[in-house]
């Protein structure tokens, strides 16, 4: 299973990509996050603020109970901030 970090999660993790093999008990995104936190300081630092962590599985936005299978690409990132000017301004 491939894990990706973007933006400041990547900076905190100190890595942008990792190949991981979680045990069979890890069946969904929430489970993967809990397991990763025990896999080294980088993962723990990146995932330490769950409120600010967004997840995509195989490049699709998902929630914490999304199921996982071997071979999935799981990306963790903060809320997105693209697109230029912010929404306010009336």
């Amino acid at each position: 299973m491939k894990v990706l970090y973007f933006a400041w999660l990547r900076t905190r993790a100190g890595l942008s990509e990792a190949e991981v093999s979680p045990p069979p008990g890890v069946t969904d995104v929430a489970g993967l996050i809990e397991w990763l936190k025990g896999q080294g300081e980088g993962h723990a630092a990146a995932l330490g603020e769950p409120r600010l962590v967004r997840v995509a599985v195989n490049q699709v936005h998902v929630g914490p109970d999304h199921p996982l299978k071997p071979g999935d690409e799981v990306a963790f990132f903060p809320p997105v901030t693209g697109g230029g000017a912010a929404g306010g301004g009336r």
Binding site: L4, F6, A7, W8, T11, A56, Q59, V60, H61, A75, F77, P78, P79, V80, T81, G82, G83, G84, A85, A86, G87, G88
Partner: protein, 156 residues
């Protein structure tokens, strides 16, 4: 049509290509997002846009398809840049063309609102104090949320 690229784009050429040979188009709405020199009152020296290659293209295509399902569009375009940009540089171009102008305006605003909360781009700003990641803004979530529900008036 969607494109994710490092280099700048030519707004006039993009818009002309979008409407060319389609005289059924009555209105074209375009939005260009630019790098501001100020952010929260602080001077910005440059901005770097990181993205998630692969997912970005998928997500933009999905957002564009959603707009095409909601409005009678003749054409649409999203061009989004990544990499390091100076103040005043163009970041993103969103354009929609339709027989009538209301559809063009609404769908263009929908595209940029959804893009800003769904497309995997992240901005890092460089100030005199160093680089920092830009935080997502509540205004952007609110702007996107307007479009969550199927709109009650579905008149042509």
């Amino acid at each position: 049509m969607i494109r994710v690229q490092r280099q700048d784009f030519d707004v006039g050429a993009e818009l002309a290509a979008l409407t060319r040979d389609n005289p059924g188009i009555g209105g074209l709405c375009a939005f260009v997002g630019l790098v501001r020199d100020l952010s929260g009152g602080e001077r910005i020296q440059a901005m770097t846009l990181e993205h998630y290659p692969g997912m970005t293209e998928r997500e933009l295509a999905r957002i564009e398809a959603e707009a095409a399902a909601r409005w009678p569009l003749a054409a649409s375009l999203i061009v989004h840049r990544y990499g390091r940009l100076d103040p005043g540089e163009r970041i993103v171009l969103v354009a929609t063309a339709a027989p009538h102008r209301q559809a063009a305006f609404e769908s263009c605003q929908f595209l940029i609102d959804w893009l800003k909360t769904k497309a995997p781009f992240w901005k890092q700003e460089e100030t005199a104090d160093g680089a920092r990641w830009v935080e997502a803004r509540a205004e952007d979530d609110q702007a996107a949320d307007r479009w969550q529900d199927p709109r009650p008036e579905a008149a042509e």
